[in-house]
């Protein structure tokens, strides 16, 4: 229990570092020195000391929305297994809890945005809801597939099994024919599930944490933003909560990616070190994606997001076909 609590705190700390790491990677790609990795943390600390400006047209919902959003994100983190061990709490079907507690936070953010009556924030809310509705099936299909595969319905149990099973697949390197390759893939459903799961989670990070190519967190253009535009009216501690929650989302989804590939049954310290290293890799990947491509046109975002669902469907199809045989 103590162990899990420490890991939970570790995830929160790592999550807070993620935006700074991503920005650093982007700066290096752009040939700049860039701000300190700790800058987003400094910003959050600074915002804690700032006073708030609250529009007179808003209702109490606007005031509680950022807090609910943060608490929802923190709660969601409770069921995420960190560094190869069980999460702080786990129960059957906790991934559904994870998805919908995050949705609750989003629901309140959207309400808060609509509450301001600003036309920009209304547009942002409409986009946010559209895209998150599109990413939801992807998450459930991939998690459903993994539940089918492992026979469990909890993050902790699923993820403790998958990497372990992966290690058992031995690929014979003596001349792999195409037929053999197909056979291998068909039988290593786990490998497919793990790879596709990673892609789906990565796309989820880009959508949920409003990163490129879905949203652009750097240019503050109110007409094109999705997530950032919803929080234009927030200031002070509320804004700090929002930024913290947004960092947490990157951290938690990144942790899920890592959980898919982190070999189970490692010693505590080596597992933690490997976890930190893999999280760094996740940050570098996100930063690099942002650095080498332009943002998608708004009308193309749904295609990109639906792509995640198709990838998840592939996994499901392979599993279903595999079970028939």
């Amino acid at each position: 229990m103590m162990d899990a609590a420490v890991r939970y705190v570790l995830m929160i700390v790592v999550a807070l570092l993620m935006p700074g790491l991503i920005n650093k990677v982007k700066a290096l790609w752009g040939g700049r020195q860039g701000a300190s990795i700790l800058q987003p943390i400094y910003d959050i600390c600074r915002l804690f000391h700032k006073s708030q400006v609250i529009s007179e047209t808003t209702s109490p919902i606007f005031r509680v929305a950022p807090s609910i959003n943060l608490v929802a994100s923190l709660c969601a983190g409770l069921v995420v297994p960190v560094a190869g061990k069980e999460s702080l709490i786990y129960f059957n079907g906790d991934f559904v809890f994870f998805a919908y507690i995050l949705a609750l936070g989003r629901f309140f953010t959207v309400l808060g945005a609509l509450d301001t009556g600003s036309s920009f924030e209304g547009m942002g809310a409409s986009r946010e809801v559209t895209f998150s509705a599109l990413i939801e099936p992807a998450f459930f299909i991939i998690m459903g597939a993994m539940a089918m595969l492992t026979g469990y319905t909890s993050f902790s149990q699923i993820f403790s099994l998958i990497p372990g099973l992966l290690q058992n697949i031995k690929i014979n390197d003596a001349g792999v024919s195409i037929a053999e390759l197909i056979r291998l893939w068909a039988h290593s459903e786990l490998l497919v599930a793990a790879v596709c799961g990673n892609i789906v989670f990565l796309i989820m990070i880009l959508v949920e944490a409003s990163r490129l190519p879905v949203d652009d967190p750097t240019t503050h253009l109110e007409l094109t933003m999705i997530h950032e535009v919803m929080v234009l009216d927030n200031s002070g501690i509320d804004l700090a909560f929002i930024q913290w929650a947004s960092a947490l989302k990157i951290g938690m989804l990144g942790t899920l990616i890592v959980a898919l590939i982190l070999p189970a049954a490692l010693y505590m310290w080596s597992a933690v070190m490997l976890y930190l290293f893999l999280m760094l890799l996740v940050a570098i990947t996100i930063g690099s994606i942002e650095s080498v491509m332009a943002r998608l046109r708004m009308t193309h975002v749904p295609q990109f997001v639906l792509g995640a669902s198709s990838i998840a469907l592939i996994v499901l199809a392979i599993l279903l076909l595999g079970h028939k045989q």
Partner: protein
């Protein structure tokens, strides 16, 4: 064509030589010329005459086919009205509104009679600024989005109101006129010869263009001949300004679509170019270089070599980033078919400069109305037919290339020690002078009319933004509202160039 005085750019004519049309003649002639012969209006400016009982409207048209400017004037009684030209020639819509605001001559039947700048000394009153009659829309899923007038970025004040259907823009109404600087009025105070600083401040990003257009007028009015060397230095500065601002435009486009390498590399290259301007004249934006009678700074052999070095680096690096930028699928998917302006629309509303060229019109006053040194260059205009953001980015690349070649050629010619500055003499009375300079954004035109004892009766400035803002409003129609910042950046128009 005796009704129009045909002159070459730049021109000075005695006021008494300008033919006077009757009002019906003017209406008929202007529409005919604009409709049939591909002529564009440059100035349509009224001033009070005959002890404020009359209004004399000076009309300057640019004929791109004959490479000449057409001058004429028409006299209205004060507060007179006439049948608006706009229904037949939409290109006149803003000119007529401006005339009403500045001189009080009412265009009857103008489809869109709204204020232009709400100047404090306006004569014709087209309503209050606070009660600006925005277009409105009603219906389920219709909504209006107002941006500005205080923009979230650091750019200037302008109010943009989008009439949207969901995410789709049906129309964008752009309302400017927040600055009330009274530039044209300031030109009338004191001597016309010491207005260099004012001309450099018309639009901070087009210092050389406006300063040159003004300097030509001052030189024409004082019969000052400047040497070829002066012309070459001015032209080099103008092309450097063009390169620098086109790089800003490209960097901005890259920034708006979130393409990081483009934003950083174009930004870096731009710094090198404006630093070169700093070495020439002590200001990165070219302030203090051009004065009536010449230039204040020379480009000596050492500086010559430095500029060549900068151009070499620019030439090498820009090719790489262009290669990357214009071949990246994610970039192309954002740029292509976004914010398209058709050739017909561009012609109808009279786009100028790069915005005309990107939509298929060959409008470049360096070619059709060349001043001095440009007359010897056989420039070919780069014309694209896309009319979309891609074309607007591409035209900048092509023009940067063209400008680099021009600068190299001028730097390469042997430096003859010519006089850099001649003190201008006395200002001629009762003359009209007009100049056209192709700034980076497009055609800049200044016009001055002097009265007795060298006084300035009227000074008129036309920045290319005056023509092109309407293009932006039409470009975003039927586009996603989220593509507006990209369209806006690709047009890159000046607020202060409009809000004189």
């Amino acid at each position: 064509m005796y009704k129009w005085l045909k002159v070459k750019n730049p021109a000075i004519v005695p006021l008494k030589d300008i033919p006077v049309l009757t009002v019906p003649e003017m209406l008929e002639e202007v529409v005919d010329l604009i409709k049939n012969e591909g002529v564009r209006p440059l100035h349509f400016a009224g001033r009070k005459t005959h002890d404020n009982r009359k209004v004399t409207v000076t009309i300057v048209l640019a004929d791109d086919v004959e490479n000449s400017l057409l001058l004429s004037q028409v006299v209205f009684t004060a507060d007179d009205c006439y049948d608006s030209l706009t229904p037949q020639a939409p290109i006149m819509h803003l000119f007529e509104r401006e005339l009403y605001e500045q001189a009080g001559i009412i265009p009857l039947g103008h489809p869109w009679p709204k204020g232009v700048r709400y100047e404090h000394d306006r004569v014709g009153d087209l309503g209050n600024f606070n009660e600006y009659p925005y277009l409105q829309s009603e219906g389920i899923r219709m909504h209006e989005v107002a941006v500005g007038p205080v923009h979230a970025g650091i750019i200037e004040p302008g109010s943009f109101r989008f009439l949207c259907y969901g995410e789709q823009v049906w129309h964008l109404e752009i309302q400017l006129g927040y600055q009330h600087r009274g530039v044209e009025g300031l030109f009338k105070t004191g001597s016309i010869l010491n207005k260099s600083h004012l001309s450099e401040s018309i639009a901070g990003d087009t210092v050389i263009g406006h300063a040159w257009a003004y300097a030509i007028l001052a030189e024409l009015l004082t019969d000052t001949e400047v040497t070829n060397r002066v012309q070459a230095i001015r032209a080099i500065a103008l092309e450097l300004e063009r390169i620098a601002m086109h790089l800003v435009g490209l960097g901005g486009i890259a920034m708006d679509i979130g393409y990081l390498p483009g934003a950083s590399v174009y930004g870096r290259l731009r710094t090198a170019v404006i630093n070169t301007m700093l070495k020439i004249c002590g200001s990165r934006f070219g302030r203090g270089l051009i004065r009536p009678g010449g230039v204040l700074f020379d480009i000596d052999t050492a500086l010559n070599l430095e500029i060549v070095d900068v151009l070499d680096v620019l030439y090498r690096d820009i090719e790489k980033i262009n290669e990357l930028f214009f071949n990246m699928p994610s970039v192309l998917s954002r740029l292509e078919h976004t914010g398209t302006v058709s050739k017909e629309t561009a012609k109808a509303i009279g786009l100028v400069g790069i915005m005309a060229k990107m939509s298929g019109l060959s409008v470049d006053s360096r070619i059709s109305h060349p001043i001095s040194i440009y007359a010897n260059e056989r420039l070919k205009p780069h014309v694209l037919d896309g009319g979309d953001v891609f074309a607007r980015a591409k035209i900048r690349v092509l023009e940067i290339d063209q400008s680099m070649r021009l600068i190299r050629r001028w730097l390469g010619t042997e430096v003859k020690r010519n006089e850099l500055y001649v003190k201008p003499g006395t200002v001629k009375s009762n003359h009209l002078a007009v100049s056209v300079v192709e700034g980076w954004r497009g055609e800049i035109s200044h016009m001055v009319i002097t009265g007795n004892q060298s006084s300035v009766l009227q000074y008129k400035v036309k920045d290319p933004s005056f023509n092109n803002w309407m293009g932006l409003a039409l470009a975003v129609r039927d586009n996603g509202i989220s593509d507006f910042p990209l369209c806006n950046k690709s047009f890159d128009l000046s607020y202060c160039g409009f809000d004189l």
